[in-house]
Symmetry: none
DNA sequence: AATGAATGAGAATTCATTCAT
DNA sequence: CATGAATGAATTCTCATTCAT
C-alpha cells in the first residue's frame, strides 16, 4: 500500500468519525503510520486532501451510475440498475461510500457545474421516464430529490447502526419502494 | 433580543455555513455584536452551545410531530399531518430547521435512548399502519428511513438552492409521494 | 509600556540581531514577556509586524528630514540640517535606526511610489542646489546615492562596532566630507 | 556546468531575492535542476553553502583590490585603481557582487580577523595617503567608511533599479567624487 | 452583566536533512 | 554520483477559554 493510499484510508476513516475540522493531521499521520510531513508531499493541505478524496469518489460514483443505465433498454430497469449500482458501491467500499454520504454537505457547494454528479444521472433517467409517459410528474426536481433522499437514507441508516451488513440484500425492497414513489403505470412489474 | 438569543442566532447561522468545529467563538461574538466572553456566561463551552441548541429544537420538533398526529383519527391523515408539521416547522424557522438537518449527524449519537425523537414518532405511526393492515411491510425500519429520507431531502434540496421559498406549498406532492411509497390500500385518496 | 510596544521593541531587537526570517515568534514573545498569541492580536503575521514597524519609522524619518530643511534659508545649511537630523534620529533611538538601516534591503521594494522617503527628501535638496548653481553635477541620482551611502555607512560602522557612542559628535566631520563630495563653490565654509 | 556550480548559481540568485533564511533547499534544488539531496554532497548545510560562497567571493574581491593597487605608484592613482577594480568586479559577475553587497551584514561577523578584507585594503591605502600628506584626516576609520559607503551605495542603487546597465561607465564621476571627499591637495586632477 | 485583552495549548504547515535505491 | 521520498523537529498561527476591569 503506497504512502498516498495509507494517508487517504486513514484520513477518510477519521473524517467519518470526527468530521474534517475535528480531525488533526497528527491523528491522520499516526493512524496511517506515516510522518505528519508526508501528508504535504501528496496534498497541499488537510482541506484539500478532504476535497480531493471526495471529488474523486464522487465522480467515480457518477460515472459508474451512468454506465449502469446504458445497457438497460427498459426504462424501469434503469431505475433498478441505479439502485443496484448504488448499493454495490456501498458494499464494495463502505468506508469511501460513507465518507461520500456524510461529507456531501461540506463539499457539494464546491462542485463545478460541469461535473457529472449522481444527482444529474438520476435526474436524466427520471426525465426520460416522464418524456416516455412511463411515470407522471410535474416536478422532476422534487421527485428526484425524494428518490435520492430515500436511497441515501438507507446508507445513513447503516451508519447509525440500524442496518447491519451489506445493503445489496435489501435491493428488492428498495427498488419496489422507489417504483411506488414514481407511481409508474407498469407498477405491477 | 436578549444577549442569549443574539448568541444563539448568530451561532446557528455560522454553524450552518461553516460547521461547528469550523466556526470560532470570535466569529460568533462578532456576528452577535457581543463580547467573546459573554458566550461563556450562558454556555459552558462552544460545543455545549451547539449541542444545547440542537437538543432543544430536536425535542420541540419531536413533540410537535407527536402532537400533530393525536388529533387525527384516520391513519393516513396522520401521515399527512406529519408532513404538514414538518414543512410548517421548516417554514416557521428555516434557520433552526436547517441547523437541525445539517447537524443531525454530529449530534445524533449523543441523543439519549429515552428521548423522544422525530424518528420514533414516525416509526410509531408506521407501525400502527402496519398493525391495522393499512399498509404492508416486513421491514418497518427500512420503510421508516426511506420516508424520513425522502422528506429530509426536501430540506437539503432547499439548502442547496434547488428549491426556493416556502416548503408548505409542496405539501400535496410530498404527501402523495409518501402515500405511494407506503403503497397504502387507500392509495386512491 | 503597552503590550504592543513590548512586542515591537522585542521584535526589532531580535530582527536586528538575527534577521527577520531568522527570528521566531516564540523568541519575540519570550523576549517581550508576552504570550505568543498576543503578537497576533496586534499584527496579522510576523512579516507584517516587521513591515509595519519599518514603514512607520521610515516615514517618520522622511518627515523629520523634510521638516529639518524647511527652516534653513541657505542651501548648504540644508545639507547640514539633514546630516544633523539623521544623526539625531540615530542617537535618539538607536535600536529603531539600526533596524531601519539593516532591513532597508528587505522592505524597500514594498514601499509605495507615492510615499515620502528619506531618499526623495535628499534628492530634492540636491536638485535645488544644482538649480541654484551652488553645486554642479550632471547626475543627481548618482550623487544623491553616494551622499546617502556615505552617511548610512556611518551607521553600519557603528553596528559593526567600529564606532562607539553617539554619532552626533561626528557631525562636523561628516558634514565637511559631504560638502567636499558636492564640491560646492562655497567649499571654504 | 557542474552540479556544484549549478547549485551555487541557483542558490545565490535565490539568496539575493529572498534572503538566506527565506530560501528553501527545495527551491535551490528546483532552480538548479538538481535533486535536493545533491546539495548535501557538496555542502554540509544550507547555511554553510551561503557562507562558503560569500567567503570565497569576499576573499577574491579583497585580493583583486590589493593586486590592483600594487602596480600604481601615484597614491591617487591607487584610489582610481580601487574604484576601477570594484566596478569591474560588479560588472563581471553582477550576481555574485550583488550577493556580496546584500549578505555582508549577515556574514561579516563570522569573518576571521586575520582574513584580508576589502575594508582593510582601502583602509591601508588611505593610511598611506595620510602618511604621505596627500590627504589630511584625523579619523581614518570614519573616512574609510564614508568612502566604502559611497561606493557600495552605487551597487545598492543598481539593485534598486535606479541605475541600469554596467557600472564602469560611471567610473569617472565616482572617482572624482571620492577625490573630493578626500579633499586631496591634488584635487585638481 | 458585559467586556475584550491576554493566555497558552494545540493545530496546520514547513523544511533542512537523511538514506535507501 | 544522483535521486527524491520520507522524516520529524521546529515554526507560524489559531482559538477556546479565563479574568481583571
Amino acid at each position: 500500500m503506497s504512502t498516498r493510499d495509507k494517508i487517504i484510508t486513514a484520513a477518510v476513516d477519521l473524517f467519518i468519525k470526527q468530521g474534517i475540522a475535528g480531525t488533526t493531521t497528527r491523528e491522520i499521520a499516526a493512524s496511517a503510520s506515516v510522518a505528519e510531513g508526508s501528508i504535504y508531499r501528496y496534498f497541499p493541505s488537510k482541506d484539500e486532501l478532504a476535497w480531493q478524496v471526495f471529488d474523486d469518489y464522487h465522480q467515480t460514483l457518477a460515472k459508474r451510475l451512468q454506465q449502469s443505465v446504458i445497457n438497460e433498454q427498459q426504462l424501469m430497469d434503469k431505475i433498478a440498475a441505479l439502485v443496484h449500482c448504488f448499493l454495490s458501491m456501498a458494499d464494495e467500499d463502505w468506508l469511501m461510500f460513507r465518507y461520500y454520504l456524510t461529507s456531501q454537505h461540506t463539499h457539494m457547494q464546491k462542485v463545478d457545474n460541469t461535473t457529472l454528479t449522481p444527482y444529474k444521472v438520476v435526474q436524466q433517467v427520471l426525465q426520460e421516464l416522464i418524456k416516455s409517459n412511463t411515470i407522471k410528474s410535474n416536478d422532476v426536481n422534487l421527485l428526484c430529490e425524494m428518490v435520492m433522499g430515500a436511497v441515501h437514507q438507507i446508507g445513513i441508516n447503516k451508519i447509525y447502526g440500524r442496518i447491519h451488513g451489506d445493503l445489496l440484500p435489501h435491493k428488492q425492497l428498495i427498488t419496489q419502494t422507489i417504483f411506488q414513489m414514481l407511481n409508474a403505470n407498469e407498477c405491477e412489474k
